[in-house]
Symmetry: C2
Subunit: 446 residues, 2 copies
Amino acid sequence: MVVPRLIERKRDGGVLTGDEWRELIAHYATDDVPDYQMAALAMAVFFRGLSPEELGALTGAMLDSGSRLPRTPGGAMRVDKHSTGGVGDKTSLILAPLLAACGVAVPMMSGRGLGHTGGTLDKLEAIPGFTTRMPLDRAAHQLDTLGVVMFGQTEEIVPADRRLYALRDVTGTVESIPLITASIMSKKLAEQLDALVLDVKVGSGAFMPALEDARTLARTMIGVGEQAGCRTVALLTAMDRPLGRAAGNALEVAESIQALRGEGTGDLLEVTLELGAEMLLLANETMTRPQAITTLKQAIRSGAALEKFREVIRWQGGDPAVVDDLAVLPTAPVIRDVLAGHSGRMPPLPPRALGELIIALGGGRRVAADNVDPAVGLELIPRAGQRVEGGEVIAIVHARTDADADAAESSLRRAIDTAWQDRAEPLPLIVERITASETTPWNEVR
Amino acid sequence: MVVPRLIERKRDGGVLTGDEWRELIAHYATDDVPDYQMAALAMAVFFRGLSPEELGALTGAMLDSGSRLPRTPGGAMRVDKHSTGGVGDKTSLILAPLLAACGVAVPMMSGRGLGHTGGTLDKLEAIPGFTTRMPLDRAAHQLDTLGVVMFGQTEEIVPADRRLYALRDVTGTVESIPLITASIMSKKLAEQLDALVLDVKVGSGAFMPALEDARTLARTMIGVGEQAGCRTVALLTAMDRPLGRAAGNALEVAESIQALRGEGTGDLLEVTLELGAEMLLLANETMTRPQAITTLKQAIRSGAALEKFREVIRWQGGDPAVVDDLAVLPTAPVIRDVLAGHSGRMPPLPPRALGELIIALGGGRRVAADNVDPAVGLELIPRAGQRVEGGEVIAIVHARTDADADAAESSLRRAIDTAWQDRAEPLPLIVERITASETTPWNEVR
């Protein structure tokens, strides 16, 4: 293998064999292929893409660079959900215990927030004592015993991806659909899943804002999943505004617990139930969509889902009292109502601006090394499209200091004013459903 | 300057400012921009190109990374010739003393051979004792005193290019016209020239085989030269067959000395005189082309050019007796005539195959660290297009061992057979002349 010749072949629109991809990644993992060659290759892939066979080989090679979550034969269907990220997206926190309560094994291996998007691990760690770090065998044991585990990617999982992702981050090669796909899917396949539901966000706050790009990303990920024997379905959902009411780690845990208690409403509940239904349908081929929705609602109504979350918290060192008493969660010293300046229909608020506002409050990360303040954040009271009257509370800022609250309030007012002027029509909450064989507009699914 | 943002901008088809290029190269030279970022940027440039302003800024920034060949005001016009490289291309060895004999100052800073193409430094060093390594001030002193110096790029000349070129070589980013241009022109501009003649090769043995690519390369280099105040003209010349009769370092020195003695003929003499005329015309605006050719021929006929070469050799530690006695040059122990297998018109022989054959004989480099045997090589007796009879000597192999000669002979036969089957029409020896303002087919120039 002469690496410059491989780079040139890809650069000139050619195809590398599966063996070449495997050898490249194996040598990259041992430092025999240096970063500068991988950076040039990643840029060539940005421009030339990968064939489905190349992408499968690359994903497999990355997967093979590390360990997999152990799995003993038999047992429950193992199904996960992955979201491409956004603001206020806390469906993972609800879905993991909810699906476990319905008999599906959910190995929810998640990441941290970065930039304007939040991360499941940060949210869970807002629960006092909760740990997301554990060795793979312990995660597997909890999964087998409790039916659900919510943990962070360990060092042994896809080390080649950790290295490649860090390199892409500093070489302008993040925004490549095949490289994104290999990164996400190698980690998901390391969970040894039977099936996977993808929540691919679309709209201004999404990683891939344009519908066509989001669709391509979804189809590419589905292709890799199915090729690897993991049944994969995607919903394209709206991220032209935040999902649900709360953004900020402890506030999102509170909103998730409320949903598990049966107090959930609106867009968050709808997206959660539809993603959950897709998971159930993949785990249980004989079920119909209405049966799946009913099963999920019943697991909430019965308290089984909340009970499962209590167990998760207990198993993972957190204070389980939180499911009964949200006051266990950290709270911010300054809580500030923001009142509507005038009357009108609430516009969709741009998630990137709100994400930046939460970073400014200390609740997010600009760079991976930043610390996160779990208590701060934002509650948004009216939903996009709802009419508000001047003087009505439209948001609540949770801040560490008065100065932070002042800054957040004025950022929020600017964001609202801009959004009001833009008069953008919100996207449908769920845009479409994509499987290996078809893409269906959501209104034809239901 | 946030480097990933700059890479992304170039990747997405944008333009970097002059300051951004200068800062990038300055930081690359001090290692603050790592190789992996430069590799990704180089690949983005491969796909997106550079605007003329960007290319001027990049070339200038690379030039500024090191020293220039000192120049005191006044004195003779300083003119150089640069060839994009080929097999048998020894015009530099003839032109440097020839133009100096005509009163032009020629700072011939050259490189070594790599792959199938030869290098001027390797050829000169076939002369016993000849050194091409010298500090810049000594090179400048020789240039001012003798009117010509033939030396290798020193450590102080464009160090950023040395580093960037080594990186491009291993990251599949060599074949980028703007990066090639910045590499070549930064080194040529470091000579502080008044004018430059480019010999851009075209045809299968050229670095850029396709006419359109060679033309683009020529025009791009001319643009950078003129932008920097160095008048620049290019001839596109044939490299679909070797130039002249000899290929191999000592053999090419012998052919060059013969040309300086007035024994030169054919394609080598023609290309040399035309390139030399371009150099003289740039140095002397009132001269006509026929006057330039006459001046050059006169400098050969009078012995002035040969005398100048003798002085160059003396100044640079070589044995000046070589100009009178070619037996001073190293000779190979095995000299083998290759006879024509049948009669016919001699086809143009592919330079890459012959270059590979010379590498196999030990006379070239596969990698930069290879040692070169000066004595070995090839003489090709009939020119392309000339009729040969079966049994006639068509080539002479100079080899270190009989086994090498056997291998070379059979490689040569294969190359000839293939070429004979291909029946390719040779390119015109000089294809066209390109200036900043126009491109003229060569038959309209003369």
